[in-house]
C-alpha cells in the first residue's frame, strides 16, 4: 500500500541491513514515506520505500538525497541517523586510517544529515532528529575506544544542536542500544557479549523492537518538549 500524500517523510541512514532495515520496514508499515540510503544496494523492496546509494560522509551525495526529497515531498519530518561502523581493537593496535573511517561515517555522516535535514525542517518549523548512540559509551567498553568516542561525539553534537534548532520546532535526541544480534557484533567474542549483557540491569541482548520503541517516542508530535536527551536501553 502506498503512503498517503500527507504521510510523514522519514529519512533513515544505513538501511541495507540490521537496525536500519528493521526501522525502514517499521515506519513503512506505519504509512510513512520512507527514504533510506546505504553504500551498497538493498536486496529487498518495500511499498512506500525508496533507496539511495550514498556514502553518508560524502557531502555531495548527501546533498543530492536532500535535493531529491525536497523536489518530491518539499519536506522531511523525521531523520534517523543509524548508519554506523565499528572496529573492535585495542587503541595501541588501531591504525589512523581506521580512526578516520569510523569518525567519518559515524560522526561526519551524522553531522551532514543533521545539517541538511535542519534546513528542510526549518521551512516548516517542524522536525524530529534521532541519532544512534551506544551503551559502549557509558559502559566504557575496552576495545571500542574509537567507536565509543565517535558515538560520544554524536551525543555532544546532538545536545548542542538541540539548543541551536529548538526555536525552529526541531527536536534532537539519542537512543543508545545495547548489543543486538546484528553484523556489527558478529565479530565480537561471545564471552565479551555475555559480559556486557551481565552488566545491564536487564540481562538480555536488545531487540530491534526495543530500539524502535524509543525512536517511536522521540518521533511523536507530542514529544515536542523532549530534546537533547539520551536514552540507553537495558538499564545501563
Amino acid at each position: 500500500m502506498e503512503p498517503k500524500l500527507d504521510a510523514p517523510v522519514t529519512l533513515i541512514t544505513g538501511t541495507r541491513k540490521g537496525i536500519g532495515k528493521f526501522l525502514a520496514h517499521h515506519y513503512a508499515q506505519q504509512g510513512h514515506h520512507v527514504v533510506g540510503c546505504s553504500r551498497e544496494a538493498v536486496d529487498w523492496a518495500l511499498d512506500g520505500y525508496e533507496h539511495y546509494l550514498a556514502d553518508v560522509s560524502d557531502e555531495s551525495a548527501v546533498k543530492d538525497i536532500f535535493s531529491a526529497i525536497r523536489k518530491k515531498y518539499r519536506r522531511v519530518d523525521h531523520l534517523i541517523n543509524n548508519a554506523g561502523i565499528a572496529s573492535m581493537n585495542h587503541t595501541i593496535l588501531t591504525p589512523q586510517s581506521t580512526v578516520r573511517k569510523i569518525l567519518s561515517t559515524n560522526f561526519v555522516g551524522t553531522f551532514l544529515f543533521c545539517r541538511e535535514a535542519a534546513k528542510l525542517m526549518e521551512r516548516h518549523r517542524y522536525g524530529r532528529i534521532v541519532n544512534l548512540g551506544t551503551v559502549a559509551v557509558p559502559l566504557r567498553l575496552e576495545g571500542e575506544a574509537i567507536y565509543a568516542a565517535s558515538k560520544n561525539a554524536i551525543v555532544a553534537f546532538t545536545q548542542v544542536l538541540a539548543r541551536e534548532v529548538a526555536d525552529l520546532g526541531i527536536t534532537c535526541n539519542v537512543v543508545g542500544p545495547t548489543p543486538i544480534e546484528t553484523d556489527l557484533i558478529r565479530s565480537v567474542p561471545r564471552q565479551k557479549i555475555d559480559r556486557i549483557v551481565n552488566s545491564l540491569a536487564i540481562r538480555r541482548l536488545g531487540k530491534f523492537e526495543d530500539v524502535a520503541n524509543v525512536i517511536d517516542f522521540f518521533l511523536k508530535p507530542e514529544s515536542s518538549y523532549i530534546t537533547g536527551q539520551v536514552i540507553y536501553l537495558g538499564g545501563v
Binding site: 555531495s60 546533498k63 525536497r70 526549518e122 526555536d167
Partner: protein, 98 residues
C-alpha cells in the same frame, strides 16, 4: 549573473521580512545590512535567509551550494554582513562550481 543573484537574495529577504519584527532594509539595496555589527538578523534569521537562498539557487540555477563559511558568525569578517557581500560570496561559490 550578479544581478540575478541580487534579485534572488532580495526576494528571499522580502519573504523573510514578512516574519521579522526588525526588518532587513531592502530599499538600501546592496548596502542593506544583514548580519554583524550593523546587521538586523540574529543567527536564526541569518540561517533562515541562507537556507532560502540556497534553495532558490538550486531551483533556478540547478546548482547545489552550501552557504557555510568559517567566518559566518564573525562580526567583522562575515561574508553575510550585507546583501552586497552575500551576492559577492554566492557569485564566487558559483564561479568555483561549489
Amino acid at each position: 549573473m550578479n544581478d540575478k543573484i541580487l534579485a534572488l537574495i532580495i526576494a528571499a529577504a522580502n519573504d523573510l521580512n514578512q516574519k521579522l519584527e526588525n526588518k532587513i532594509p531592502i530599499d538600501r539595496g546592496v548596502d542593506a545590512p544583514l548580519y554583524g555589527q550593523e546587521g538586523v538578523l540574529d543567527s536564526l534569521g541569518l540561517v533562515s535567509l541562507l537556507v532560502s537562498v540556497e534553495q532558490s539557487i538550486e531551483d533556478q540555477h540547478h546548482v547545489k551550494l552550501t552557504l557555510a563559511d568559517e567566518r559566518a558568525m564573525s562580526q567583522k569578517r562575515s561574508p553575510f554582513q550585507t546583501i552586497g557581500s552575500l551576492v559577492e560570496y554566492v557569485a564566487r561559490l558559483m564561479r568555483n562550481g561549489a
